[in-house]
């Protein structure tokens, strides 16, 4: 069922999508932002201290401020999942949310990423039973417990710093020699008595009964390859959600990230992308929002420069 014609549909309601929406709204483009979780992955970050203009803000608050700004304009927010995208012969697009679709002249993909899994035995069985991916959500359930964080990025380090507020001790387990957070977070971790780093170690399995009781390592730690803990939070990176874009021929790189130029254009006319789903190297909330604004500008010019007679709906 055709639910309307748009100048642009922004697929994804995270910060990049919302940033795009502020600008498409200001450009007075008929816009729909479609995404199941307004705010996207930033809402899982408790401490955002690197978004210029805010010394410290929670991810949820930042997302809500962006959404409030979007709400100042005539932009539709559709809290649904986009199930597929089609490209019409005339050059327009259909964005499906189940049986319904939005007709649009242009698309901005801001679909973000999903958590990368360890893919070790026990990970699936113990998900939500000691294996977690969101410290902000579930960390408080492990008061006075022994917690492991798998990963060495700034995100993993920040997860550890959050979890140590609850846990008795937190171990950062990293496969390489040195963890690589921002210097400010490295200092915080190195100075903390209840955080210990286990380097050059891979988790090879997760064990337990009803809930997690231990993990196994590829190398012994303190004489054993089995390490007892109560929970393991996995923060080993993200996989770009570029499947919808690939369906209509958008080019991605070897990591699955959407390739964009400096104007946020993809290889397909009328299709733009922004945020963590793209091949931008330095992925931050601010760079995603900036890309969203650039994508909006490019979409605006595209729509104004192209008179398209869109594909007819089934009812016409």
């Amino acid at each position: 069922m055709d639910t309307g014609k748009y100048d642009t549909v922004i697929v994804g309601a995270g910060v990049a999508g919302l940033g795009a929406a502020v600008y498409t709204g200001r450009f007075q483009m008929k816009t729909a932002v479609v995404g199941e979780t307004p705010g996207g992955t930033i809402i899982l970050t408790n401490d955002v201290a690197n978004y210029p203009g805010f010394s410290q803000i929670t991810g949820l608050d930042l997302a809500e401020k962006l959404q409030a700004h979007v709400n100042n304009y005539n932009v539709e927010t559709v809290e649904k999942v986009v199930t597929r995208v089609e490209r019409c012969p005339e050059g327009c697009f259909k964005v499906f949310t189940g049986n319904e679709y939005l007709h649009t002249q242009s698309i901005i993909f801001a679909t973000g990423t999903e958590w990368k899994k360890l893919k070790v035995p026990g990970e699936k069985e113990f998900t939500n039973k000691g294996v977690h991916y969101c410290a902000l959500c579930d960390g408080a359930l492990y008061k006075d417990k022994i917690i492991g964080v798998v990963g060495g990025s700034d995100s993993a380090t920040k997860e550890a710093l959050l979890l140590v507020e609850y846990g008795k001790k937190v171990y950062i387990i990293y496969r390489k020699e040195k963890i690589r957070p921002e210097p400010i977070n490295l200092n915080r971790v190195m100075g903390h008595k209840r955080i210990e780093i286990i380097n050059n170690t891979n988790v090879t399995g997760i064990k337990g009964n009803t809930f997690v009781t231990s993990v196994t390592f590829n190398e012994p730690y303190e004489g054993s390859t089995e390490f007892q803990l109560d929970a393991v939070f996995i923060e080993i990176g993200h996989i770009p959600l570029s499947g919808l874009a690939k369906e209509i021929g958008v080019e991605v790189n070897e990591k699955g990230e959407i390739k964009i130029d400096r104007d946020a254009k993809t290889n397909i006319e009328g299709v733009f992308a922004a945020g963590d789903v793209t091949d931008t190297v330095f992925k931050q909330a601010i760079t995603g929002v900036a890309e969203g604004a650039t994508a909006a500008y490019s979409a605006y010019h595209y729509v104004n420069e192209h008179e398209l007679i869109c594909c007819h709906s089934d009812e016409e």
Binding site: E36, T37, G39, I43, L44, N46, G59, L60, E79, N128, K129, G130, H132, C134, L136, C137, D138, G139, A140, L141, K143, Y166, F211
Partner: protein
């Protein structure tokens, strides 16, 4: 009106979204902080078989996570 319980932690963003969704749709609910209450935590684990929030108990139907469609169906909206 449905009998709704929400098991949550104070920092969990999906818990906040679930509660906002219930309020927006004019549903009252019992708000159980599983970070503070061992009883609530045990109850949640017994009902859901797992340790992640939010957990919603809607007239006995247990929903793990902020699953909008499942919640709407359970609330019959």
């Amino acid at each position: 009106m449905a009998n709704v319980k929400v098991y949550s932690t104070p920092t969990c963003p999906f818990c906040k979204k679930a509660k906002e969704f219930l309020k927006q749709n004019n549903f009252t609910f019992e708000d159980l902080n599983v970070a503070e209450s061992e009883q609530a935590r045990s109850e949640m684990i017994k009902k859901s078989g797992q340790v992640a929030v939010p957990v919603l108990d809607i007239d006995g139907e247990i929903i793990v996570g902020f699953d909008r469609e499942k919640i709407k169906k359970a609330l019959k909206i």
